[in-house]
Symmetry: C2
């Protein structure tokens, strides 16, 4: 593991690290905020998965989460959104290839070789974190924005027991029914739509839900509402009586100003679950 930067931040350290991943077969970069409390004992972990075009940096700089994580005594992990590099397949579109991994294991060429983001996030990166930092990996929670909200919800529901709580900001809720999903799943997973369903938050909510608290915030003025399809997730959650809060925040758009406006509530929500 290679230290790219470490900055003192809210009494802790905001670090950026790179490591060779055997899963994605390239160097992967991630951000990690370690609160001051980690100097005394391992701390719980809140994962933050980012959206299309983002890297490990966006939320680290713009979400304003570190102060609340320091307050709650929890670490924040900011993974990248895809494998990267000249040797890694890419596409000129902003919503396919590098910066747009959609948190799946690609099975199709040319993506399959590197685009193994599901395994990266569920196996490879957790091992690196557990080995190198003072983290209590028995206490994890997950959140994300847009494509990262899709990642957070699908990982949480697909891996029962892994995460104590899940939240999302303007998640892609129904990729099987949206141009933010059908295009990418077709490319990464192939034409058989049955293989897409394990990565659709609304279908997972209908089929199995989440055994813990859920918090979803969606801006009412989001310019991408038609692509996000929050109505499918809200309906599935209501139908199964999923414990959780599914909120529309009037006037907020899809930007990080929206995320920053509600990050305190999300971090405290996870803090409560992680202490419980």
């Amino acid at each position: 593991m290679r230290v790219i930067s470490e900055n003192r931040c809210f009494g802790g350290v905001q670090g950026v690290y790179a490591h060779a991943s055997a899963v994605t077969k390239c160097e992967m970069t991630f951000g990690l905020f370690l609160p001051e409390a980690a100097a005394r004992a391992p701390v719980p972990v809140l994962w933050y998965l980012s959206g299309l075009t983002c890297s490990h940096e966006n939320a680290m700089f713009k979400a304003g989460a570190q102060g609340w994580a320091a307050e709650q005594g929890i670490a924040l992990v900011f993974p990248d959104t895809s494998p990267r590099g000249a040797a890694v397949a890419d596409d000129p579109a902003y919503d396919l290839g590098q910066g747009a991994g959609f948190y799946v294991n690609a099975t199709e060429a040319p993506w399959a070789e590197h685009f193994q983001m599901w395994d990266y996030l569920t196996e490879d990166l957790p091992e690196v974190l557990a080995e190198d930092f003072a983290l209590d990996m028995s206490r994890q929670a997950i959140t994300g924005h847009s494509m990262g909200g899709h990642g957070a919800l699908t990982l949480a529901m697909a891996l029962p027991g892994r995460f104590r709580s899940v939240s999302a900001f303007a998640p892609i809720c129904n990729p099987c029914g949206s141009d933010w999903g059908r295009k990418q799943f077709g490319a990464y997973l192939g034409a058989d739509e049955a293989r897409w369903q394990a990565h659709d938050a609304s279908l997972l909510m209908a089929a199995r839900g989440f055994n813990g608290p859920v918090l979803v915030d969606q801006g009412g003025g989001d310019e991408f509402l038609d692509l996000l399809r929050p109505e499918t997730l809200f309906a599935a959650a209501a139908a199964r009586r999923q414990a959780g809060s599914f909120r529309i925040q009037p006037g907020y758009d899809h930007s990080y100003f929206f995320v920053a406006s509600f990050i305190a509530e999300h971090v405290r929500f996870h803090g409560a679950a992680l202490r419980g």
Copy 2:
């Protein structure tokens, strides 16, 4: 005035606006956060002046000030750090020309035509703000980072009565005695060093001080300590018994992670002064 963007943020609006400035003879861009309270009555104003290489955007995205400004019911103004554009003089160095106006009125060629940042900030932009937004211009405060800390301190001390409180993050404290200052003042103001002194926070502190509370935070691990020279400001403030807090924060560097870590205290400090 032209609206570039408006995003709902912490119940208020984070806007970006552009206007033709007669003072800098070019289009100037600024950010303005208006809290929800501004919908009911004009609100006080906290200016945030940015550092070298920054534009109106850096603090807006990375300082995390809006939530605290919403709490305090005050507006935040994020001016640009220089005139901009193809017709505006520039220099290849990061610390001269566009992005490095140093908050002075240049008298020397080729800078004098556009680099009139002092007048822009003290006359032109306040007029635009007073005219177009629900701001109570009788209640103003000012802060800034690095070169912007220099700007905040010098404006506050040079214009008694204009600002009720002043704070700074890692300000350039003694530009007359630093390579962050001598080079730029020489270029903008000419070789006569007597003309530089009105723009040196430590000299102003020694000569007149500030009639109100002062808060300065300086990271103890700042990589630019030799250029910032906080010891000159701290000494001058102590010598004149200036009311204020002059703090070294151990381990913090010059980045926005440092600013974000202490922005809540600064905004609340100004909020208290603006209510008083």
